[in-house]
């Protein structure tokens, strides 16, 4: 039958992670339809229609889908369930929230954060903060899958699928949206950044993030990340946290500054192509995974690095 991919988007446009999850969805071997649930989300639907290999785009455009509430979105997916035997979504906070609810409504076990499709019913997924990889085979008739998008390549454009409107499902009316505080800046999102500069407890203050980390990130066009310690201490906002219980990233270049390299942090960044660590403690565990380690005081090394990169015209 068919696979339904749930799109991550901001209504007007599609997020990069969707194109990566599409790669995983296509590997199941069945035709892939994409569901865009949002409000005034035609822009995102049209972007999805252009992706290579998409059979059809379903657009559920209704106020109930404006704010990522789990209950109405799960009800919608359930209403579409008879036509599909696999449901795939990127493991973003939206879908980590909604997909297990969908799975329970369908009486199936979700397969969380797959990193590889071995066969249409068999997948690899990390456990224990990525210190072990499990190969699991699902016995359920319908599959509910979230995808760790950092491990799949993006699918490009080249399609022209039809966009079909689908009716909103009855809203269970269990929750309502009150407000949100979402940072708006021009930096790339962690999920898709080519370069990430992260700061840890060694940064000592949020002012130091602004003074040391951000200029370096700006020079490199990088996203900014942080360790849990830095977030807990209020040096950085929660959505910057990289790690087992934060975001999992795999950029081409990850620069860890004043981060010791606890296993929970490594879980979120050890698949980066090139890792640089700047730490004053030569024995910090981060150096065990770093391709290039610089033992130095970050308050001297980071401004120097920013300046050197400037000389290269970056």
């Amino acid at each position: 039958m068919t696979t339904l991919l749930l799109a991550e988007h901001d209504h007007a446009s599609l997020k990069d992670v969707t194109t990566k999850a599409l790669t995983a969805a296509a590997q199941l071997g069945a035709p892939v339809d994409v569901l865009v649930a949002g409000e005034n989300a035609r822009g995102a639907a049209e972007a999805a229609a252009k992706l290579s290999g998409v059979a059809k785009v379903l657009l559920a455009d209704a106020p109930a889908y404006a704010h990522d509430l789990a209950e109405p979105l799960a009800a919608l997916v359930r209403s579409l369930a008879p036509g599909y035997d696999a449901f795939v979504a990127p493991a973003t906070s939206r879908f980590k929230n909604v997909m297990p609810r969908v799975a329970a409504l369908l009486d199936v076990m979700q397969i969380s954060e797959i990193i590889k499709v071995v066969a249409p019913d068999t997948f690899e997924r990390p456990i224990y903060a990525g210190n072990a990889i499990q190969t699991v085979k699902s016995r359920d008739a319908k599959k509910v899958i979230t995808v760790r998008s950092s491990t799949f390549a993006a699918t490009g454009e080249g399609g022209s699928a039809p966009v079909e409107a689908v009716a909103a499902a009855a809203d269970p009316g269990l929750s309502s949206f009150v407000g949100e505080r979402v940072a708006r800046n021009n930096r790339p999102e962690l999920a898709s950044a080519r370069v990430i500069v992260s700061g840890g407890r060694g940064m000592r203050s949020s002012a130091n993030f602004t003074k040391y980390i951000e200029p370096l990130a700006d020079r490199l066009g990088a996203g900014v990340g942080a360790s849990r310690a830095a977030v807990d201490s209020g040096f950085a906002p929660n959505d910057w946290q990289v790690g087992q219980t934060g975001k999992v990233v795999a950029p081409e270049l990850y620069i860890a500054i004043g981060i010791s390299g606890a296993i929970q942090h490594l879980a979120g960044m050890k698949d980066s192509k090139v890792i640089v660590a700047i730490n004053k403690d030569a024995d910090a565990p981060i150096f065990q995974v770093a391709d290039y380690g610089l033992v130095a005081d970050l308050y001297e090394a980071v401004p120097e690095l920013t300046e050197e990169l400037g000389k290269l015209g970056r």
Partner: protein, 249 residues
């Protein structure tokens, strides 16, 4: 209002686990076990609501082997009132855990259930959302703030771009994120008191839930390792290597 807090016994977060060489799983026979850290946060939040007069009783439930009673006891030492141990020697998947919890909820009638957002062994991040789906209740995952507001809960959630606040109709399900609170340590008097608090034990089979795993674990392997690279002597060498050797800048 009664609060139910499901707690899970997991390998301590400080333990570096080892994958068995025959691919059959992870060797945790001798590993130090602890309560899942997110569940400590869940208990702490429940206790704060109780101390603020918003909750009458805090009940813990764990599904696991006999030793999971120790995990419940840890939570009773923090201040929870009583515990329920649902005995299962074999590991139970989140879907079956959620089904057992649903049966417990039907017996106990809580107005709020607080779970951890994920267990740090399996990293599934599913159980709370599944339970909410099975019960048809409202859910707020990844909570960093929780307020009781009459027949509603106001919850601030950690989401990809920042923070979101939602209002849930009671009864509801909340899962904890790291910034919700800092769990207390058990005091000596409370540890003594906890020894006398009741833990009832039931066999998982009694709940009439199908416990057969839906996911078959074919093998467990070690991830590709990463070798330590080189230490550079200064910033100039770092820049030169990133440019000429790694080609990433």
């Amino acid at each position: 209002m009664k609060i139910l807090v499901p707690v899970k016994r997991v390998v301590d977060f400080n333990v570096q686990i080892r994958v068995k060489s025959d691919g059959s799983g992870v060797d945790i026979a001798k590993a130090k076990m602890s309560m899942n850290p997110f569940d400590e946060i869940a208990i702490e939040e429940a206790l704060r609501l109780q101390e603020a007069g918003k909750a009458s009783e805090v009940v813990l439930v764990s599904i696991g082997p006999a030793q999971a009673a120790e995990t419940i006891r840890t939570g009773l030492s923090m201040g929870a009132d009583r515990g329920i141990l649902v005995r299962s020697e074999a590991p139970v998947e989140p879907l079956a855990v959620a089904k057992i919890l649903k049966a417990v909820v039907e017996e106990e009638g809580p107005g709020l259930i607080i779970l951890g957002k994920q267990a740090i062994d399996d990293d599934s991040n599913q159980t709370g959302q599944m339970l909410a789906g099975l019960l048809g209740w409202a859910q707020a995952t990844f909570a960093s703030k929780l307020e009781v507001d009459g027949a509603y809960f106001k919850v601030t959630r950690e989401i990809d771009g920042g923070l979101q606040t939602v209002r849930l109709k009671a009864p509801a399900i909340v899962t904890t994120d790291l910034r919700l609170n800092e769990p207390r340590y058990a005091s000596l008097p409370n540890i003594m008191k906890a020894k006398k608090k009741p833990i009832v034990e039931r066999a998982a089979e009694l709940y009439g839930v199908d416990l057969a795993p839906r996911l078959e674990v074919l093998r467990t392997t070690e991830p590709p390792g990463r070798k330590a690279g080189v230490k550079v002597k200064d910033v100039a060498e770092l820049v030169s290597r990133l440019r000429n050797e790694a080609g990433v800048i």
